[in-house]
Amino acid sequence: MKKSDLKSAIKKERFFFAMVPAVVWQGLFLFLPLLFLVVISFIKGWSYTGVHGGFTLENYTSLLDFSHLRVLFRSFFLALINTTVCLLVAFPVSYFISVKSRRWKNCLLFFLVVPFFTNFLVLVYSWFFILERNGVINKFLSLFGLGVSGPLLYNMPAVLLVMVYCYLPFMAMPIYSSLEKIDKSLLEASSDLGANFRQTFFKVVLPMAFSGIRTGVFLVFVPSFGEFVIPTLIGKGEPFLVGSLVSYYFTQSLSPSFGAAFTSISCVFLVIVAFLWFVLLKLIFTKNLRGSDNGKN
Amino acid sequence: MRSIELKNITKSFGGELILHNFSVTIPSGIFFALLGPSGCGKTTILRIIAGLEKQDSGSIFLGKKNITQVPSNERTVNTVFQNYALFPHMNVFDNIAYPLRVKKVDTNTIEQKVLDTLKMVHLEQHIYKPIQFLSGGQQQRVALARAIISEPDVLLLDEPLAALDLGLREKMLIELKELQCKLGTTFVYVTHDQSEALTVAHQMAIMNNNGQIEQIGEPKEIYEFPRSRFVAKFVGTTNILSGKKIGSTIEIEKEGAFSLSISEERKEDGKELSISLRPEKIYITKDKLEGFSNVFVGTVISVVYQGRSTQYVVKLGKSGITVNVFEQNEEHFPKEVIEVGNLVNLYWQKENVVILKNEKI
């Protein structure tokens, strides 16, 4: 009698059991490690092999110097430029695919999605053949006697170029999906060239694309802020970014408590940036609304 | 084949009371129709019987067995859903075989039974078709076959024909009725279409907007003798007239110009009463006729040709009361042509007048 009671009680909890694995997984491998990171950032001289000091703020205070802040702001501006360029390139492209491409649509879409899903390292790797000293660009230029002596690699512009290249699909895809939801007949009705087009563009296309742009900016900005692969491979230490520094602290210098502190600072920085971005959006958005209201009146 | 009894069912959704102390007994082996306007809770009743919805209080009996606490899958009650709910990832055969498969019936039996059932609903030639390739009517039959294959005690049909066009609907109605005769299963048929209910049901119940049964009985009884204004209006078309009862007449409105004789003599003199008079029971003509207990004079204000019959709207005198009249189009070219503006006489027998339960509306 009691056994069957227990059995039915267990049976009643089956939905709870069902959700346990994923929730525990998420807690154990996402929230706990993040918390752990914050904790070790307050411990003096924590290292993998287990030297434990006490609580300290030293890790933070020693990081608040000019060189660390420089890395932080450099990453921020690089990510900002990258995001802006990606947006400026991706928007017209996704607009074209979604609205104007007609029978080429599937083809164009396919070729947009392939880089999106391609291994990041393959994309980075492909640029070696373009930017190398004997690479495509230099060879091309030397045809006109304009040979450049050095490689086009190992500098900030190259890193930025490859970043734009790698993150372009991440911006284009969400914008495309949001533009796809627009009723196309509405756009077809308005001619492309007149003032009519401008109106539909600002009243229909842009507001519809807004959610896509937001997602795209998010998808591009956050990883490019923490970018590690491209500056390591294309830049070789130039520019020195947040990702490189974090990786340096954790794997090369083996002083994870500094790394943890720096990671926490970067995350806080990122949160502040995200908050400001959010406020800015809200401001622009409300202003726009008011503006269009005025137009109506 | 068992009867169903609902006792004092109460059910509310999000604070809104849908059913309050609802009780009904559905005898075994009959085709029972539950008729009511949309949103009256009739689907909820069906879902409570099926066990898909849990009532707040009250009990349900299947035959003599109390099934109040029995989960849906253990009730020998199957449902044909309004949207059929055919499993899109299965073909016709798999859909129909589903109830047997989950009961772990052996394959041979399943095959035999599915074939038999398919024959019953005339779908033998579509046995392995994917569901998406079937027409609405065929999907309806599959849903039906799936619901009857496990030989339930009660079959619930939730507006099963709503999605079909008129012709198909009529055909299906007849087939449903034949099927019920053949199987002898209790069918509970929920609809808001009174003509469907009238066509198929052995017995029908009319529900009002408050989730209560207004009247229960055989279709003819309900149609000819509606007990309330609601029933009279909901089942078929009718003319509702009200007035003060004086002896065996009712004085319509204040003018006193129109009095109508009734056959009933209840001692309710001086009371306000409503009567129902079916439009087809009225005879409309310009001529003067004898032998009718009632005659009203009025002006035709609208004539609508409806094929089978013609609908006239007649205004009585100056009072503004209008009366609907149906006249069978018996001939290609009727001798008497009635047009808008004509002065006509309306005749009917007093036995056709139904006095409605007194209610304040």
Binding site: L123, Y125, E132, Y165, F250 | A85
Partner: protein, 261 residues
């Protein structure tokens, strides 16, 4: 003048798109072309050959990396699908769908942050780094992608089907396996493919959470790149591009049913 301006604005957008696609594909095309180069010097075209593909298939390091990548990807796919389905069913039936937000949080952090935090906690609890820790990390990402897809599909499944199944006599378990799961199949398929691709793509988690004995393809390419350029990597990259293209083709063929992009 006006005419010229009109033509210019008419042509601008298509030209811009063409330019962007050229920008996107020139490096890839060059990469693929050089994988068929006979010379081992990466920048000199000598003659056509498929030698590097042969080398690729005989290189035990690459085959090991491939094996590891596959193992990790399959592990991540299986685990994340299993857990997301269970999670979605559990949350929806318990009506605590708010909890879903905790699964959208994964992507807020830069991947490198997750990488180093996982690394520190693994090392601290002396969890041996390797295939298993990689699967753990990738499953985390897998959940972030598969949970929303499966959730929206689960909500789309008409409740009627489940009711119908119960009504027809199936137990909840039978209903789950015979109705819910098959109807989730397209969503499962799509998110499975996504998780698979994401796992193959991932570099940062692999960089931090794998051990020397569990090199993945991404790590392999990275380590090759550190010490220069090798045509074998071109061949490998070409094959990976091919795989990606096939996956994208499959995805786009069912894109109409389940919107992924």
């Amino acid at each position: 003048m006006g005419k010229i301006k009109r033509y210019a604005s008419f042509l601008f957008l298509p030209l811009f798109v063409v330019f962007t696609y050229v920008f996107m594909y020139v490096p890839i095309v060059v990469l693929v072309v050089y994988s068929f180069n006979k010379s081992s010097l990466p920048y000199m075209w000598t003659s056509f050959s498929v030698d590097w593909y042969r080398t690729l298939f005989y290189s035990s390091a690459i085959l090991d990396a491939f094996k590891n990548s596959m193992l990790v990807a399959f592990g991540a796919v299986v685990l994340s699908l299993l857990m997301s389905v269970l999670l979605v069913v559990g949350l929806v039936e318990l009506r605590i769908e708010r909890l879903l937000t905790m699964f959208y949080g994964t992507l807020i952090f830069p991947e490198i942050v997750l990488g180093v935090s996982l690394l520190s906690i693994f090392v601290f609890f002396s969890v041996p780094l390797g295939i298993v820790t990689l699967i753990v990390g990738h499953t985390l990402f897998g959940l972030a992608y598969s949970v929303p897809i499966i959730y929206s599909r689960y909500k789309e499944i008409n409740k009627y089907f489940i009711e119908a199944s119960m009504d027809l006599g199936a137990t909840p378990t039978q209903t789950f396996f015979r109705i819910t799961l098959p109807m989730l199949k397209p969503a499962l398929f799509v998110s499975g493919l996504l998780v698979f691709i994401i796992s193959l793509d991932d570099f940062l988690i692999a960089f931090f959470c794998s051990s020397v004995s569990s090199q993945t393809l991404s790590l392999y390419i990275f380590s090759m790149l550190r010490s220069g350029v090798s045509p074998v990597v071109n061949a490998l990259s070409t094959i990976m591009l091919l795989v990606t293209s096939v996956v994208v083709l499959v995805l786009s063929s069912i894109n109409n049913r389940i919107r992924i992009f």
